[in-house]
Subunit: 329 residues, 2 copies
């Protein structure tokens, strides 16, 4: 089993997957990830190529699935086993307890998320919700990462459209920092910083890309990357999994719209999105507000990092918002 280790300075947790690299030559091998070899394990009819299904959504009345959730065949985390925690002098570690699941968004290999009907995009967010509700019953699990890597430059290892779910026994450091930052703001002002962002951005259209009754889609004020985009619910709620059905519906519409706009303006970019939500075992939080962040991977425009978390972005968010706002769906 793999090891989850903590950096003693920053508190950052890292999974050391512990697969033995036998000889130096191995360090130049390709990484051990599922490779299709001409046969895609996510396609309709190849269901036996994945580990047993955890969840599926099917058409009424027939057996055809529209969406399947399966364990990642090459997971570094296991739900089985004890969560051992131990010290090693000044260091801390625990066993690699957790889950890594894949949501196959369509039986069709050629389909993309934004090409699916709205109702089927909604299914992806329902699957995220259903899995988080199930996983949080395991009280060892503290955080559930919900994300999609689309395209090779964004880290997708298989072409067939899919998203991922990672359940962890620790809270990742950037989540922790976002929670602490939001808590500091709340302590100072007695208001949620995300609610304030929604108010200020709504009042001035410069960075708004699109809006619905329930959601605001913006280029954030200090984006790390060109065309970084945030989707913010208007109503305060810290936990994604308690979102109302009408908000999930609105989210599906907005995500399909914003990805289609990016495809037009940026010529079908690779992208990542990640749902930022509160730790699953936390009670409802007044200072935190779930939202979704999308980062297109634009190798040729290129924002870049100077180490140390300091980013340079050549595209002002007011300009990226305008280009996306002005493009059709």
């Amino acid at each position: 089993m793999s090891d989850i280790r903590k950096d003693p300075v920053t508190g950052r947790w890292v999974i050391i997957s512990g697969k033995r690299a036998a000889r130096p030559g191995d360090f130049t091998r390709t990484r051990d990830l599922p490779k299709p070899n001409g046969r895609c394990p996510f396609c309709y009819g190849h269901e036996a190529d994945t580990p047993p299904e955890i969840l599926s959504y099917r058409e009424n009345g027939n057996g055809h699935w529209n969406l399947r959730v399966v364990p990642n065949k090459f997971s570094a985390l296991r739900v089985e086993g004890m969560l051992d925690r131990e010290g090693e002098g000044l260091y801390d570690r625990m066993s690699g307890v957790g889950a890594h699941e894949v949501i196959i968004e369509s039986p069709d290999h050629e389909m993309s998320l934004a090409g699916l009907p709205e109702k089927r995009v909604e299914d992806l967010f329902w699957a995220f919700r259903d899995r988080i509700v199930d996983l949080k019953r395991d009280s060892r699990l503290r955080y559930v990462l919900l994300f999609k890597n689309h395209g090779e430059e964004a880290g997708a290892s298989l072409e067939h459209t899919h998203s991922q779910i990672i359940a962890l026994p620790v809270v990742p450091i950037q989540v922790q920092e976002e929670l602490e930052g939001a808590q500091r703001y709340y302590s100072f002002k007695e208001r949620c910083v995300f609610c304030d962002i929604v108010r200020q951005e709504s009042a001035n259209d410069a960075r708004v890309i699109l809006e619905t009754d329930q959601l605001l889609v913006i280029s954030p004020y200090a984006p790390r990357f060109p065309f970084e985009t945030w989707v913010l619910p208007r109503s305060h709620n810290s936990h994604f999994e308690t979102a109302e059905p009408s908000l999930i519906q609105s989210l599906a519409w907005a995500m399909r719209a914003i990805i289609r706009k990016m495809e037009k303006v940026l010529e079908y970019p690779a992208y990542n999105f990640l749902i930022h939500t509160a730790p699953v075992q936390a009670p409802p939080l007044d200072h935190y507000h779930w939202h979704l962040e999308i980062i297109p991977r634009l190798a040729r425009v290129a924002g870049f990092e100077w180490g140390a978390g300091f980013y340079v972005n050549p595209t002002p968010p007011e300009e990226s918002a305008q280009f996306l706002r002005d493009s059709g769906l």
Copy 2:
């Protein structure tokens, strides 16, 4: 002039370089960085292709330079001008005051850092020191990033061997977090966490790659990436620029040795290194300890990030340390 903007949730600062992207087509152009076009501006004899020299080291008695420091021709930061700070509702920004300099480590286009004689590697660290001492006299500047990107995959835009210096009017977020983490440890234990790491790693050779009287080179306990390597001075000192000459000499020897080992084991990888040092205007700090972190960019071994600062590393540090320790210089 560019804008330095703060993310209101995390406190992360971002430079928005503000270059106008006129039309959507521009977003697929290559980024505006110096391109050699067959003529390298860093080569001997092409000195007029760079902005005027800030510093150079020359052979005794003749005019030939061994190392030059010049401003980055395409800097997003300017030393000239006022440091304006202003709010925009809940947001904060300041003008892009700072400096971006390039250290050309050799007049010879074909040379690599690890191929230079030891004395000339030492010159690089003296140049870092000399520039930080000069830049810190500008009290608007809070932090100086000292780093090298080697190879295209590591972000180097020119092939000719060089390092970089970025002086900023803010402290980057990861530096801030490292300082705060070290402060928390110190508050709890009344000891420097890096001094404790040096003690524990010296006592158990499992993660030690090489050591000198003055320095320890290790695979850290919780590395984000395969073959991530840290160089730690044995003596406590928070500020790189106050390092003793004998330590700089030892650092040059160790850096040359570790890069040569990586070149052997990892087949000439691209890499980044970054000196982690205290903010330049801070007094000597009991809780912080400067050091250097090297990250080889091993596309084919691949550690990866699951968003949110949570890394998976397939290579245990005990194994990477062994491979590097066992390889010759």
